[in-house]
């Protein structure tokens, strides 16, 4: 994918399809460690040890519409191409965690891209799922909890979609703050 944030959207959609009600997305951009770490954890139905072994194969999928499932193998390949690491852990009935690490200075690394659009799309498109998004850089850290949207809806008596627009601006501001050293 052109942006790593698109992989995040893809994997989080897997979590939703695994009937997760909570999804935690952690992005850590650490120039000090030359590391970009992405973690997506859900409380979905999880998978057995056998399935965990097979699932990174693009010809293995749980979906019925096609016989290929490329999301995980593409993400893993993207990480390994950057001298990074990829780990999938899961427990049936408990959930799944996908961890991908990338060397920041790798020439093969796609940019993180519009992570805001990924988060907002997930939150607006699946209101029944609780999302927590944590973003950490060398300069700061912030956390966006999708329940924030309900707070704005109640406070200002606005619709879910209008509150989503506010969320987009809020996340944008927070991202700006932790990306710069401070002007």
């Amino acid at each position: 994918m052109r942006e790593l944030s698109l992989h995040i959207l893809d994997i989080a959609t897997n979590s939703i399809e695994a009937d997760a009600t909570h999804v935690i997305i952690v992005v850590e951009e650490l120039q000090s460690e030359n590391l970009l770490r992405i973690r997506i954890r859900d409380n979905g139905k999880g998978m057995t040890k056998e399935m965990q072994k097979k699932v990174l194969d693009p010809f293995v999928t749980t979906r019925k519409t096609r016989s290929v499932g490329m999301g995980l193998s593409l993400f893993r390949q993207a990480a390994l191409q950057c001298n990074g690491d990829f780990k999938l852990t899961s427990k049936p009935g408990k959930g799944t965690t996908v961890l991908a690490e990338f060397r920041l200075d790798s020439l093969n690394r796609a940019p993180l891209g519009d992570i805001n659009a990924t988060i907002i799309n997930l939150v607006m498109g699946t209101p029944d799922v609780h999302f927590i998004y944590i973003h950490r850089t060398d300069f700061g850290k912030f956390c966006f909890d999708s329940y924030w949207i309900y707070g704005r809806m109640a406070e200002r008596n606005i619709s879910f979609y209008k509150a989503g627009e506010l969320a987009k601006e809020f996340v944008e501001q927070k991202l700006e703050l932790i990306k710069s050293i401070g002007k």
Partner: protein, 120 residues
């Protein structure tokens, strides 16, 4: 200072409003968000639809996402569901065409026939 029960009440009230919106929605817009769709640009299509809904203050539509629909070569795909009407599946949608879907199909009640992939 809001207590935990205040926050719970706020969440419950918001959920009730959203359920009401969902049940009374005249239009259900679904964006396919499988790996194929995302690779083809579905995220920006969905962002454009959300933006257009807000710009036009549309209250009788909901926007959701789904997984792969199986027509990967037609991605990005946008479906419009209306009660008592055939479901329209638009294919090869760009953010610009997505905005037109909101303006012409949702608001103007005119299907963009040249972008239709399937109608059932």
């Amino acid at each position: 200072m809001k207590t935990l029960s205040d926050l719970r009440a706020m969440k419950e009230k918001a959920k009730r409003e959203m359920t009401a919106r969902e049940e009374n929605a005249k239009y259900r817009i679904v964006v396919a968000m499988g790996t194929c769709g995302i690779a083809a640009g579905a995220r920006n299509v969905m962002s454009a639809i959300l933006d257009e809904i807000n710009k036009r203050d549309i209250a009788d539509a909901i926007v959701t996402q789904t997984g792969c629909l199986g027509y990967c070569d037609q991605e990005p795909l946008v479906q419009v569901f209306q009660p008592d009407k055939k479901t329209v599946t638009y294919g090869k949608i760009t953010p610009e065409i997505a905005r037109r879907i909101v303006a012409e199909h949702i608001v103007g009640n005119k299907i963009l026939t040249e972008q239709v992939f399937m109608q059932n």
